[in-house]
Symmetry: C2
Subunit: 346 residues, 2 copies
């Protein structure tokens, strides 16, 4: 599930198997000279970012290291069931230069709001295509990117096993949540046999799928349901494009915020005739955000790029100034851009 | 997922592991004297009923048997992607007495609308608690019931493996669909390690989780979405009970039928404060149907029983004559009954 509303890891069906953790990374972690770690992930963290951060920092501590868990944005309410989440700090230690930064679920420090912060070394563990932004930044000391892995949590699981750290109930819960949310609860095309096998092992280790899913998917507020009700009335489908919009007025009328539209794209997506699902949200900072999801036939990244955004083939997005265009005009432009991008429109 | 809207297999979290297929069943199938089979499941079939029927009948044919697949109600539109579903007959062969009936996902012939039909023998493969209805009926010749198994499809998978029949892509698709739908895509508390391991093996054998989920979850018609929109406006939560109702007028206004409310209980369920989710639907045959789902704290079977229905602790339902009560009064009675059943109400 894309909790953050930003492009996530819906990828095409053809996937090679991800590789094992590199020996270089295992040696680096085992090295007694490397003792102080700060594990961080991207802002607007979702299940994969948080579960990976928590499981990895706990595993490092189990190996006798000092390990801080950090996220600039803290833990959204609906992930506060994750074991250990109260230890995720939104502040940095004083002497960051004494710490090794481990970035999980993203590959550039600015994604974690850590640009310009000095660390002793940097390790990257990510399942996204290598982030091309800010090419001038110095490369990490160790880079482990597996773009064919469905979740950073699956990579962290493999790493923890390779380090011979016991996966306890807390780690199992964090890692099951990471894998389940990034595969849309094993519904997306990135659901590999390895993801399901890891999930099985994590349930054996104590993860409770029913309780986790209740926490992730069944903790809607009444306000959020009211917002969905209003948003659904704006849902319109034309020629394979299903577009739903959430206006500033809808947020106001229901007392909700932009966090509440997380995963709303799944509703236009449910329509049989939708090849592309789009959600347009009017943010309170003068921006309009568009989230695009494809069922596979249409490349939504190319559509997002036309509006200055980016992402993956099946999940992309962009932001545009509300002073440049209103919601209604943006809907029309989106319908047009999607029609042009559809195979028959070429 | 409960596609049929009737009580399904949401069960409690404490689950023992289901046993292997009994030797008696394996011997019976291998016996060259047993050559003609009719595989059938309950009316209003969902993914587990259909996937199990299709995979088992194909496996019997692979063993050189004659095997017919039967369902009184045929295949609902959103399951017509299941390989081989065009071979499911809604009619019986002339000489049913020459056939061995194999009931999957139910344990009594009347559940498949086969009461009074003569068969040579009867085999039952079911993951529900043994159905206590019609106790006077003769017992099946072979009864394999595993109430701790999350899906009949998982039992059929174990059976096919024990019979050393190759699980091809078609069988993998049918069985993955069976297991995924009955576990709510691995979200319900009945999601066992065995279910996830089988799912992994089925993906390796060719099942495509992304394509299957698109077919099962993302083929809503616009009319159905309009119905949801109206139904959501009726959603009300009081003291842990979230009740949604669909009136005959809503069906008329949107041009939908009772099939379209399948799984609508998942929406009231999404509310954080809902301990019980209820969906009341006004059917066109003068009945009102209520579907009750519990998140675990409240036993909804006992509530359904008060209205003459039944089911499981976490999933139950009942039907009541629309001439006896209207939707609004039933809502009130339901709120009251749920409040009385809640721990603090005792």
């Amino acid at each position: 599930m894309d909790q953050a509303g930003i492009p996530e890891t819906l990828q095409g069906p053809a996937r090679r198997q991800a590789g094992p953790p590199p020996a270089e990374l295992l040696d680096f972690i085992r090295d007694g000279a490397n003792r102080r770690f700060l594990v961080a992930s991207h802002i607007n963290p979702e299940g994969d970012a948080l579960g990976s951060t928590l499981a990895l920092s706990a595993a490092l501590r189990a190996l006798g290291k000092e390990a801080l868990a950090y996220n600039k944005d803290g833990v959204p309410e609906y992930f506060r069931f994750l074991p250990g989440c109260e230890d995720i700090s939104t502040g940095l230690p004083e002497k960051t230069g004494d710490f090794i930064l481990v970035l999980v679920d993203c590959s550039k420090p600015f994604r974690a709001a850590l640009e310009g912060v000095r660390f002793a070394k940097t390790v990257v563990i990510d399942h996204h295509e290598l982030d091309p932004s800010r090419p001038g930044e110095s490369a990490p000391d160790i880079l482990w990117v597996e773009s064919s892995s469905p979740a950073a949590g699956l990579m962290v699981y493999d790493l923890i096993k390779a380090l011979a750290v016991t996966v306890d109930r807390a780690a199992a819960t964090n890692l099951f949540t990471a894998i389940a949310t990034d595969t849309g609860s094993f519904k997306y095309s990135n659901t590999t046999p390895e993801a399901l096998e890891a999930a099985a092992a994590l349930v054996r280790a104590g993860a409770d799928p029913g309780r986790i899913s209740q926490n992730v998917y069944e903790t809607w507020t009444g306000k959020r349901m009211n917002l969905l009700c209003l948003a659904l009335r704006s849902l319109e489908i034309r020629d394979g494009a299903a577009v739903m919009s959430v206006s500033a007025e809808m947020f106001r009328a229901t007392g909700t915020t932009v966090e509440d539209v997380d995963n709303f794209t799944s509703f236009p997506r449910m329509l049989r005739d939708a090849q592309v699902a789009a959600l347009i949200s009017e943010l309170d900072d003068g921006l309009i955000r568009a989230s695009l999801r494809s069922k596979g036939a249409i490349d939504v990244r190319s559509i997002a790029q036309k509006f200055g955004g980016g992402g993956h083939r099946n999940a992309a997005g962009f932001r545009i100034s509300a002073s440049a265009i209103d919601l209604k005009d943006l809907r029309e432009r989106l319908f047009k851009a999607i029609a042009e991008a559809s195979p028959k429109g070429e």
